[in-house]
């Protein structure tokens, strides 16, 4: 295993996490309660309490490249039970934002699903399931692995084949554009009033 040089923590990284999450990683005393309760632990490459430890050591790259960040479901079990009142799920959320910003996506499919979902929201204002599936398949180049579920859902009217768009769809699209810092298309600025 790699030897960690203790005197070189990425302190900027630590500061960022502290600021963006509002949590204090040094409050963690490594009791392991978060890992103990984490339902996803079996699928993680780094257990969540070890993420907390690596965070204390300022190990940015190791953390941002781990798969666990993408698998966490924000189930809040860690947050609810941490004896030090650390909002662990929030830290994981923030780390995932940072991983995304840094261009990491070690669970490509999870990211693809999220992206497909948000694209659908951006386009229609609401989620259009078939659209999400289609977008996901397009991004991953993978056949829909749940193909056997189609016949269970379609006849029950659970998979709408037509998107339900809303009046405010353009407002939603603008929220996304502003979030990405894209310039406003001239025609729409000030268009919709609320």
């Amino acid at each position: 295993m790699e030897t960690i040089t203790l005197q070189k923590p990425d302190s900027q990284f630590l500061r960022d996490v502290r600021e963006r999450s509002g949590q204090e990683p040094s409050n963690c005393y490594q009791c392991g309660n978060c890992t103990a309760g984490c339902p996803y632990n079996f699928a993680y490459d780094i257990p969540v309490s070890r993420i907390m430890r690596l965070l204390q050591l300022g190990r940015r790259d190791e953390i941002l490249q781990c798969k666990s960040l993408w698998l966490c479901a924000t189930c809040q079990s860690c947050t609810t039970r941490c004896p030090n009142g650390i909002d662990v799920a929030r830290i994981v959320d923030v780390l995932r934002h940072m991983a995304r910003e840094a261009g990491y996506a070690t669970e490509r499919n999870v990211k693809a699903f999220g992206d497909a979902f948000l694209e659908s929201v951006e386009k229609h204002g609401r989620v259009f399931e078939v659209g999400v599936v289609a977008g996901y398949v397009r991004k991953t180049g993978r056949f829909w692995t749940d193909i056997e579920l189609g016949p269970k859902m379609l006849p029950k009217g659970k998979l709408g084949l037509r998107p339900h768009s809303i009046q405010g769809a353009e407002h939603i699209a603008r929220i996304f554009r502003r979030y990405r810092g894209e310039p406003e298309p001239a025609a729409t600025t000030g268009g919709e009033t609320k």
Binding site: N27, Y29, Q30, C31, G32, N33, C34, T35, A36, G37, C38, N41, F42, P47, S49, R50, S77, R81, C82, P83, N84, G85
Partner: protein
């Protein structure tokens, strides 16, 4: 006046962030200062000698020592002054350690601040006057509150030294938690075999008066002369004639009474002697469960009692006692773990507390020492212990370590193996805290010889699956989640201040910390004293501690009491108020405000009303001084002029040194 200033380095404690020589230099310019120097360790022998020599050499009338907190070394330096022939009150201290060097690293600012603190001390000292103590009598009797092992030890030590002891115990028997334990670490000897004889000694000692089922109602007075009122609670049994024969218990039809002694593991009868070795061995009725007291029907106990001592009309009574010192040894209570929903919050019968487990293992306990699952009576083959439940957990406001649960968990795991040889035990821990003599060897033995599996990590949840409990935790050393199926789960519940401790502290006028544990006078140097003269502490009332330490503190508190009683007369603190009869107009506003009733009205020769302070009663708070419209009553050593001199020293538009 000739003032000397001594600026202490305290090694590097002060000197690292305060320029001590230049503080001394600056002090030389203050009014009346004729000598100033810095010194390495003012409190050390050479340091004190230096002060004494300077006093003699420079014919000093008073000294300013700039060093640590006066709460630490004021008595030390007062004695030094006395040895040099000065009055002890001609000393002022400037706290340049706790209030300066330890709270900031900027040497320039610190040096300036230290200089100003010396300046105000010197200004005050210029107005100091010699004060002389009075003497008063001591009542050589001691009150011990709480009859756990700590209180028992304190009581026996005092009684053996010939002091009269009044012991007040809230429950119907003394013994405290130790009486409930099965065996005790690290030697694993039987708890009642070592405590029992001591309890009997308490009962039989001619110098000990025991009030069980009693609480302290009210305390007034001061060191050497406290007046105590004790409330003796109604037990509905005339204890003077109860022989403890137990016939009443046999016949009482109400058998579902809460059994506090057995921690609710079993139920008991409404009339009850908590355990066979109880001291005093007297029956008491729990009115909540007595059919006679609730519904007016029954009275069986009264019929069977051979000595006719049942008295359903009994009321609380109050007795008064005079004592000269008080030992508070009210022990601890256990954390209410049912706030932990993830451990079932009390829903799963096979999740028990450590103390319940002690009762289950105890041969004279409700299961006669057979470990059984409360749910189905089956003998558990796999027992999981969870440590730090309600300790070291900020989320439940219990950030502190309970101190002895690591040890008793190891003990319980070992005893489990003794009781059930084909059983497995698992201990979830965060750290193993076993710093006593032979303690670490003990926890190692549990692992090495008894095969107890220690798992380093907290437990996230416990849930039932079929008739077992699944314990899901982490093994942080293995680096992952672990699960174990348990027949019985034992929670090492944390220690809390005993119920009502804060309330008692208020009556005793001692401080308590935010969790209700009593505050010692100094964490290292005065561990059994309190800030109130004549009141001492022992055992878990001050914070979690095991039996050896509790007993040690019990003896230490007794030693302090005996030291106090070694003198026939006590010296009063002369820092009390005194009335300038010329200025006093006899309005008696001071009399009305004094919280201690220390001011009486007298007539002067002309027959005018005047106030007069009873020096032994006055506690030196100075409330009267602020009340008096004429400035006639002044608290010595803290007079208006002295404090104003300090203010003036600080708040002059330009202060230049």
């Amino acid at each position: 006046m000739r003032i000397g200033v001594f600026v202490c380095h305290c090694g590097s404690n002060i000197a690292a962030t305060v320029d001590c020589p230049s503080v001394a230099e600056a002090a030389k310019l203050f009014p009346d200062v004729v000598f100033a120097t810095d010194t390495m360790y003012a409190c050390s022998e050479p340091g004190q000698d230096g002060i004494i020599q300077a006093i003699k050499e420079h014919r000093l009338d008073g000294c300013v020592v700039a060093s640590c907190s006066p709460r630490m070394h004021e008595p030390t330096f007062r004695r030094a002054l006395e040895r040099a022939g000065l009055n002890r009150y001609m000393l002022e201290m400037a706290n340049i350690r706790e209030h300066v060097s330890w709270i900031g690293k900027n040497k320039e600012l610190n040096t300036g601040k230290a200089t100003e603190l010396v300046r105000i001390a010197a200004e005050k000292l210029r107005l100091n006057t010699p004060l002389f103590a009075n003497q008063f009598d001591v009542t050589k009797r001691v009150l011990v509150i709480g009859g756990g092992v700590a209180g028992i030890q304190a009581a026996l030590d005092c009684a053996d030294a010939g002091i009269q002891v009044i012991m007040v115990e809230r429950e119907t028997s003394i013994g405290g938690k130790m009486a409930k334990l099965d065996k005790t670490f690290p030697t694993v000897d039987c708890s009642s075999c070592i405590l029992g004889p001591k309890m009997v000694d308490v009962a039989q000692h001619p110098n000990i008066t025991l009030y069980a089922a009693s609480e302290v109602e009210e305390i007034s007075g001061y060191v050497g002369n406290f007046d105590v009122k004790v409330r003796r609670k109604a037990t509905y049994v005339n204890w003077a004639s109860c022989t403890g024969c137990g016939l009443c218990m046999e016949k009482c039809p109400s058998k579902k009474s809460h059994d506090a002694f057995n921690e609710g593991v079993a139920t008991t009868t409404a009339i009850n002697i908590p355990f066979p070795q109880a001291i005093p061995k007297k029956a008491a009725i729990n009115p909540e469960f007595c059919m006679k007291l609730q519904k007016g029907k029954c009275g069986v106990c009264a019929k069977v009692c051979p000595t006719k001592c049942i008295d359903f009309e009994q009321q609380d009574t109050i007795v008064s006692e005079k004592v000269g010192a008080i030992v508070a040894a009210t022990g601890y209570d256990l954390f209410d773990w049912t706030v932990y929903g993830q451990y079932g919050a009390g829903r799963y019968p096979d999740v028990v507390t450590s103390l319940q487990y002690e009762r289950m293992m105890n041969a004279s306990g409700p299961t006669s020492g057979h470990i059984q699952r409360p749910s189905d009576g089956r003998e558990p083959k796999r027992v999981v212990f969870i440590q730090c439940v309600g300790s070291r957990d900020k989320s439940v406001n219990r950030p502190y370590c309970s101190g002895f649960c690591c040890m008793y968990t190891a003990k319980q795991a070992v005893l489990t193996k003794d009781h059930i040889p084909d059983s497995d035990s698992y201990v979830f821990y965060m750290d193993i805290r076993s710093p006593g003599k032979g303690y670490d060897e003990f926890t190692r033995r549990a692992q090495e010889q008894y095969g107890v599996q220690y798992v380093r990590g907290r437990v996230s949840m416990v849930y039932p699956k079929g008739d077992v409990l699944v314990v899901r935790g982490a093994d942080t050393l293995a680096g992952t989640q672990v699960e174990v199926e348990a027949d019985l789960v034992v929670l090492a519940v944390g220690v809390e201040a005993s119920k009502g401790a804060a309330h008692l502290a208020e009556k005793l006028r001692i401080s308590y910390d935010q969790y209700g544990f009593f505050m010692e006078s100094h964490p290292k140097l005065k561990p059994v004293e309190t800030n109130t003269a004549g009141v001492y502490l022992a055992g878990c009332s001050q914070g979690p501690k095991d039996i050896p330490t509790s007993v040690g503190q019990g003896s230490a508190a007794a030693a302090k009491v005996l030291t106090l009683f070694a003198k026939d007369k006590l010296e009063s603190d002369p820092q009390v108020s005194s009335v300038n009869q010329n200025r006093c107009v006899g309005c008696l506003k001071c009399t009305m405000t004094c919280p201690f009733g220390a001011i009486k009205d007298v007539k002067d020769r002309a027959g005018n009303t005047k106030a007069e302070v009873i020096e032994t009663v006055c506690q030196g708070c100075g409330i009267c001084t602020v009340t008096c419209p004429h400035g006639a009553i002044q608290l010595q050593h803290f007079t208006d002029n002295q404090i104003l001199a300090e203010v003036n020293a600080l708040c002059q538009p330009e202060l230049e040194f």
